[in-house]
Homo-oligomer: 281 residues x 2
């Protein structure tokens, strides 16, 4: 990456930077689509829960501000029972803003009907992956669904108090012998709170790692609180080293759960920190 940032390469960079890109829409961001990847195969995204207190237009404005173009849509912004028309208009807003809706979730599935709804919803949204939390007794049914829809289900871990999937290993143990479209969305904050190193977990479960929720936490214990990336205890250089080693091809979606009524500064600080580590890695 450092070779990109030489004075010699600068005229090329400058030329690229001045070109408006399809994904970037009308954003004033300097990033080309390639640059958004910052030398890695994985772009930065946002997990929709970050914008829980804001509507779709406000979410888009914040994403444009930080130059992030990948989004995991949460049902807060597009209810699971939305009409096709509603789905079309909401997704259309994101697309028009240059935002790539790459998955939906986190969706909790506690009944067959909820599983049915989630897969139909994802299909209508037009994504090929759901981030979800199925009850144990629904995993076999989910396996049928991932086959029928040819869609991936990334199961999300939620830390020490999660009765189902406290850590990534609790997901992996239940899906490793099933269809390869069942996998993990590793939430690195909840992973650390469960006493597991994210940089180790992504290597250990690499064959089923579909998505990542990135964040930082104050301490590596149940009571760890959300904090800007770089201020907490997670070792981002090591995490990114692991992701590059396993040739991760998914998205790293920032899920910022501090200052939820005014999250933009924290999202921005987190984005800056993560980008610098990506660029250095």
């Amino acid at each position: 990456m450092s070779s990109r940032r030489t004075f010699i390469g600068q005229s090329i960079l400058t030329a690229a930077a001045s070109v408006a890109l399809p994904l970037a829409g009308k954003s004033a961001s300097l990033f080309s689509e390639k640059e958004n990847y910052f030398g890695a195969d994985f772009p930065i995204g946002v997990a929709g829960y970050t914008f829980a207190k804001f509507d779709v237009d406000q979410s888009i404005a914040m994403m444009k501000r930080v130059g992030i173009t990948y989004l995991s849509v949460k049902e807060i912004h597009l209810p699971l029972n939305s009409s096709e028309e509603k789905i079309k208009s909401t997704i259309g807003k994101y697309t028009a803003a240059g935002i790539n809706v790459y998955t939906v979730g986190v969706i909790y599935m506690r009944s067959k009907e909820a599983v049915d709804q989630a897969f139909e919803y994802a299909k209508k949204v037009g994504v090929n992956m759901i981030v979800g939390v199925p009850s144990y007794d629904l995993i076999d049914y989910c396996e049928e669904k991932v086959k029928a829809y040819d869609m991936r289900l990334a199961i999300h871990n939620h830390g020490p108090k999660d009765p189902l999937y406290p850590s990534p290993g609790d997901v992996y143990g239940r899906i490793k012998d099933k269809d390869s479209r069942l996998g993990l969305c590793i939430d690195i904050g909840h992973t650390v709170r469960a006493g597991v190193l994210p940089e180790k977990a992504v290597r250990e479960f690499k064959d089923r790692l579909f998505d990542l929720h990135i964040k930082d936490v104050t301490i590596a214990a149940e009571e760890g609180k959300a904090i800007e990336i770089g201020r907490g205890v997670i070792n981002f250089p090591e995490l990114i080293k692991s992701l590059k080693k396993i040739q991760y091809k998914g998205v790293c979606s920032i899920e910022f759960e501090k200052d939820m009524t005014d999250p933009l500064p924290g999202i921005a600080e987190s984005t800056g920190y993560f980008r610098a580590v990506l660029a250095a890695g």
Copy 2:
């Protein structure tokens, strides 16, 4: 630095992080004073011009949000002709908020009276350095002043259109044989716009490098515009490598001149990026 971020060292880190620090005031920042340095001898600050559209209280709120505790006060927030009472009350606000006012400026000096005023002002503020721009014919007078006040003057470069000091070399050439309290505040954005690599300039002028204004620019040419750190053409890993090599002991003050009516997200993104490069360096 990476050794800090191991799981083994975590309990120590956690203990340190939970201690409220004098400089951090009531901020919820996780940084200890040491951590603000991120393994380097130089902390991150803000150049007051960044807050040109805001008052002192608003500036403080933004600095607390990003956990920055060093400030170069600009006369917008504390006029040069302020009474001692006014100076005391304004500086008192910063101090109460855990902010360390380490210098004043940029102050333009076009007459002996302006030089007199600047040094008296700095003395009353209680700093030992002025960031300023004296006309050529006032440099000798400034030399008398730095001796009389035992105070440093860091002369600021302002890029291709600056009639006096376009690049750091234009400052250095005029002060290198004078009292060692005359030196440079290298503005890395204007330096790049003048076609000079900041990582080279800080090494070349290390014996007189007193202060830094850090920022990024879209292109390395006169028309380069301010942009969030990490999005532009400046090579921050190389800059920080140079600063560590010369054992820089000053402050790296973010001067963010984009989105000046709503700068916090850009300040935050810039801070996150710079911190990550510092931590990696």
